[in-house]
Symmetry: C2
DNA sequence: ATTGAATATTTAGATGACCAAAAAATAGAG
DNA sequence: CTCTATTTTTTGGTCATCTAAATATTCAAT
């Protein structure tokens, strides 16, 4: 009786677990900076989309973040309550809900603009080179593209 | 009046957003396979830890997955309800709760062992080479190590 | 015009992740 | 030995994510 090889099930061998861990840990790193703006990380993502495009429907925001409208609806309501966005049915097609930045939502952009550099400042670590990070980012984006394509099927 | 540069806030420039997207998308890819075993992705992670170590305290599981006990407690209760693990106070230190696999929990390992290869089979894509994935995995692990170190401070 | 399919959003219910605080047990200092 | 501090887990509350189902609007075909 030979023992079966279960090494494929080791956490260290998998890609998915470190992705899951890295995602949660990076979100945590953002937290103190986002607390200062009184927003959460997913809310920050939605705002980043809107800072680029001003007015979008719920689904349009979702397609950029790979989120469905049922996740976004309550999140957007919270952003509306904070006075950062408005939600109104589109006149030309009342199925759609247009999300727009308020003046306050737009103003928050100026307070957020320093966040990326503040994070990078925490990471002047010699063990990972700039070049390695860029390569990593390239593969990561490819991976996201592949995964999202394979979801559509 | 010159316009401020907000390009640092573009989603594409950041590392955190694609990590977040990749994590969620990979979890989704696992879903149909895990549904067949009647477990969720975080439950699968806990089981993978236990398949390697048989019996651990709540905190010991948490340290491997970067999760706190307040996240694990309800999750472990659900695994207990499914009959996959047992939870009992340690005799030598009754503050600790020992989590052990049941016979069923151990048996599930045999049904899970094919999951990794089934996933890889979906990904015979030419746009990413094996070598690139290995490099990616290396950097990802380094990143997780850095992030978790920086949390401890 | 009316019916039926497709599209867009919302709601409901379950799980999970996080913080803060409480509860329970142990360890340590005097 | 007792009191306080520490460790470990649980509880309660909020937000986020997912599936499935409900609602409302638009479009297409007859």
């Amino acid at each position: 009786m030979t023992k079966k090889d279960y090494s494929s099930l080791y956490l260290e061998k998998q890609l998915c677990f470190p992705l899951y861990a890295a995602s949660r840990l990076t979100t945590k790193i953002y937290e103190p900076l986002l607390n200062a703006l009184d927003i959460t990380y997913p809310q920050y993502l939605v705002l980043m989309v809107l800072w680029q495009e001003e007015e979008l429907t719920v689904n349009e925001i979702g397609s950029r973040l790979f989120l469905e409208s049922n996740t976004l609806t309550p999140l957007l309501k919270r952003l509306e309550q904070k006075g950062l966005v408005t939600r109104q049915r589109a006149a030309e097609d009342e199925r759609k809900v247009l999300i727009s930045l308020t003046k306050e939502g737009n103003a928050l952009k100026r307070r957020a603009v320093n966040i990326p550099e503040q994070l990078i400042a925490n990471f002047n670590d010699e063990s990972i080179t700039e070049k390695e990070i860029l390569q990593f980012q390239t593969t990561l984006k490819k991976l996201v593209g592949l995964l999202s394509d394979s979801m559509k099927k």
